[in-house]
């Protein structure tokens, strides 16, 4: 490995078996999970996108009728599933107990349910257990059932907590079946060759702060290998530097009369302000982190649909390649102009 590689910490996300996307609510984790899954499937990989106990969004993005607790093929080679704690527990418990009646007597007991509901992290443990199980699954010929599993993780806070659980269990107890399971899961999520945790963020004050804190926490406490920091929905610059300068000069002296030209200038200034703000936050992010950065522009489009997912998938493919080539933060292609 050259010194240059060391600097950029190049990661090939398409080389991993388990991709976990995390970040604050509303930053586009689900979109990104869909796009990574699609990009990998287009490489010919068999991919499973796992949503965890949320309202399903994959069906709409891929135009599939329904995605529930069993994997559904939403595109060639691309499957989606919406795991609930109940479905994961039942699947896991039946695997062990073999008897449905015993499962029902124990896990559907009123008091047991009451306890299971309040034990922090239990649901998350079931989710991770499910991911581990799918990663380890092999067909009759010994081939992996999935080439890649993409987890659309819960929002930060929950997101990190969820990855802490195996380590918490292995530090709390020293043996037993739960220890063994937790240790197996821990080995998977901490394995640099198989797993990458992407931090998804918007380029705004709070999400960037949170991403920087999250990265530090992951490195310090979690030891889950980090992949990319993904900056989503970036306003690209519409105005060249000379135009921007001109715009500001005109705006400074133009009568503030609320006329159409005044309003067009206001809109232009708004764009300049936001882009400048983003630039400062990107700089902060790059100063604080050593991760490669993927940048997804905001696509001005009436409907957020499959076409947009496909466009983001192309960007991921292109930027992943650039990162492997030694770039730390490749530029995205500018989005197409709006149709008027």
């Amino acid at each position: 490995m050259s010194a240059h590689d060391d600097e950029v910490n190049a990661v090939d996300i398409f080389d991993k078996r388990l991709i976990i996307n995390t970040g604050k609510g509303g930053v586009g984790k689900t979109t990104l999970s869909a796009a990574i899954g699609l990009a990998a499937a287009r490489r010919g990989k068999r991919v499973l996108i796992m949503q965890l106990g949320v309202k399903d969004r994959m069906a709409r993005l891929f135009g599939a009728p329904f995605v529930g607790t069993d994997p559904v093929e939403v595109e060639d080679n691309l499957f989606a599933v919406n795991v609930t704690p109940e479905s994961a527990l039942e699947e896991y418990a039946l695997l062990k107990l073999k008897l449905k009646t015993l499962y029902k007597a124990v896990f559907e007991n009123r008091f047991v349910r009451t306890f299971l509901r309040v034990i922090p992290g239990l649901n998350e443990l079931f989710y991770l257990g499910k991911a581990w199980y799918e990663e380890a699954a092999r067909d009759a010929a010994g081939r992996p059932r999935w080439d890649m599993i993409v987890i659309d993780a819960p929002a930060t806070g929950h997101g990190v907590f969820f990855l802490q659980i195996p380590r918490m269990i292995t530090s709390m107890i020293t043996s037993g079946p739960m220890y063994d399971e937790a240790a197996q899961i821990q080995r998977l999520v901490e394995d640099k060759s198989r797993t990458a945790l992407n931090l998804v963020t918007l380029v705004e004050e709070m999400p960037v702060n949170e991403t920087i804190e999250l990265a530090a926490k992951v490195e310090r406490e979690l030891r889950v290998p980090l992949g990319f920091v993904v900056c989503n929905a970036l306003y690209t610059q519409r105005f060249q530097p000379r135009q921007a300068d001109l715009l500001r000069r005109i705006e400074d002296h133009w009568p503030d009369d609320g006329g159409h030209l005044d309003r067009l200038l206001d809109a232009g200034l708004f764009r300049l302000d936001r882009v400048e703000m983003q630039r400062r936050h990107l700089e902060r992010l790059d100063d604080a982190l050593t991760l490669p950065r993927v940048t997804i522009p905001y696509y001005f489009t009436e409907r957020f649909n499959f076409q947009t997912i496909a466009r983001i998938a192309d960007e991921l493919e292109r930027q992943n390649k650039a990162i492997l080539g030694g770039e730390r933060a490749p530029q995205p292609l500018p989005p197409p102009p709006p149709a008027t």
Partner: protein, 412 residues
């Protein structure tokens, strides 16, 4: 003085709870609601869960912590609130870990039990874990402030939750789980009385526990038992307080506001929050929608030829020769087109947001209060920033320096 719908909603409330998905500006909105009520004469506490220093700074203090802290508002520039009629503002950040420690310190029967609990490995895990402990801590804190404090109004920011109303449900769920009936079922009475050892479990539950231990192993179960036994002494009050808070939150002294952004997925969640509040008979005040894009110009202007605009700038420049625009002739040529395309992009965002909010109005039969706050050109992290949000929330006139930075006053 005229008041806004939001003023009317909040006026006679004692608790206002802001709920909503993560990343929609709940914390800022909570701070602004508190600021406004304090400016208008009330003694207000804002209980935030966000450790962001910028918010503290924007309120004019260095940092917030687990104690109630006065926020100076006397010099705050607000022409709608005469200084002599202003109230007081306090802010507090809820530190989840420390709050739960407080609960233990307060309710443990003796020092030995307290220390045992605080040192227990499972406790450390529970108290920082998220399935209910955050919400439980928040609820406990609200209970003690409400019953012991002398605030006119408490504004409560809530943790972002995956499941809509964990904030309401989790404390009760937790109380149910640790109350005696469930415990008695699991443990022998001797255990519940604090004697711990072999023969821990009740015969009636033994096959269940035996089965569960096939998953967890005996060590984990014993750790759990140890934890529960030590915790047992504190259990009784848990349920009582959780239910008291629930009662307070359901009374007409309380108002829930759902904070959202115009993103369709977020609005879906917001609507779900509202339905759940309705089912639970919790007083719901309306939706506060942050980050709404507004159009800048009437739609037909977006078809203007860029060259026409460039020409108007040139004409104007001849009357303002000191600006020296002519030297940038090439940039000026393309600026017109860029300005139109830029406005067209914002028009798309404005259309999307308008559609989403229209659908929200329809689905709530136009009966629900919806207040929009525009998407700003900067982050909100100063008193001026908070004031800007405040003016939008409470329909106050904008100061001139903000007017041009906002699409809000677009004609048409």
């Amino acid at each position: 003085m005229t008041t806004s719908p939001l003023d009317d909603l909040i006026r006679d409330k004692k608790i206002v709870v802001c709920v909503g998905s993560g990343g929609v500006g709940k914390t800022t909105t909570s701070a602004v609601l508190a600021l406004h009520a304090a400016l208008h004469g009330r003694k207000v506490l804002v209980l935030t869960i966000d450790p962001a220093r910028r918010l503290a700074n924007s309120l004019g203090v260095q940092a917030l912590d687990n104690d109630e802290r006065p926020i100076p508002i006397h010099d705050f520039p607000a022409d709608d609130a005469p200084p002599e009629q202003r109230g007081q503002l306090f802010a507090m950040m809820l530190d989840m870990k420390r709050s739960f420690d407080r609960v233990v310190e307060r309710y443990a029967p003796d020092d030995a039990t307290r220390d045992k609990i605080l040192k227990n490995k499972l406790y450390k895990y529970f108290s920082t874990g998220l399935a209910g402990t955050q919400e439980y801590s928040a609820m406990e804190r609200l209970h003690s402030i409400y019953t012991e404090g002398d605030y006119d109004l408490i504004i409560m920011d809530t943790p972002p939750t995956v499941h809509a109303l964990d904030f309401l449900d989790a404390p009760i769920r937790m109380a149910e789980a640790v109350e005696s009936s469930a415990l008695q079922w699991l443990y022998k009475p001797s255990v519940a009385a604090g004697k711990f050892g072999f023969g821990l479990f009740n015969m009636g539950s033994s096959y269940v526990l035996k089965t569960i231990s096939r998953f967890t192993g005996g060590e984990m179960l014993n750790q759990l038992g140890d934890f529960l036994v030590n915790f047992n002494a504190m259990f009784e009050g848990f349920g009582t307080r959780a239910r008291q808070v629930r009662e307070i939150l359901s009374s007409n002294h309380t108002l829930f506001l759902v904070v959202t952004s115009p993103d369709p997925a977020t609005v879906d969640e917001a609507r779900y929050f509202r339905d759940r509040l309705h089912e639970e008979r919790i007083p719901f005040g309306g939706f506060l929608v942050n980050r709404v894009h507004k159009p800048y110009v009437p739609r037909d202007i977006l078809r203007t030829d860029g060259a026409t605009i460039a020409q108007r700038f040139r004409d104007w420049a001849t009357h303002n020769p000191h600006l020296d625009l002519a030297s940038d002739d090439a940039a000026l040529d393309t600026l017109g087109d860029q300005l139109v395309q830029n406005a067209a992009e914002f028009q798309i965002l404005a259309d999307l947001d308008a559609q989403t909010l229209e659908a929200l109005r329809e689905r709530t039969h136009n009966e629900v209060f919806i207040q929009e706050v525009p998407f700003f050109n900067t982050d909100i992290h100063s008193l001026q920033g908070l004031d800007r949000v405040r003016r939008h929330l409470f329909n106050l006139p904008l100061p001139p320096e903000h007017r041009s930075a906002e699409p809000h006053h677009a004609p048409g």
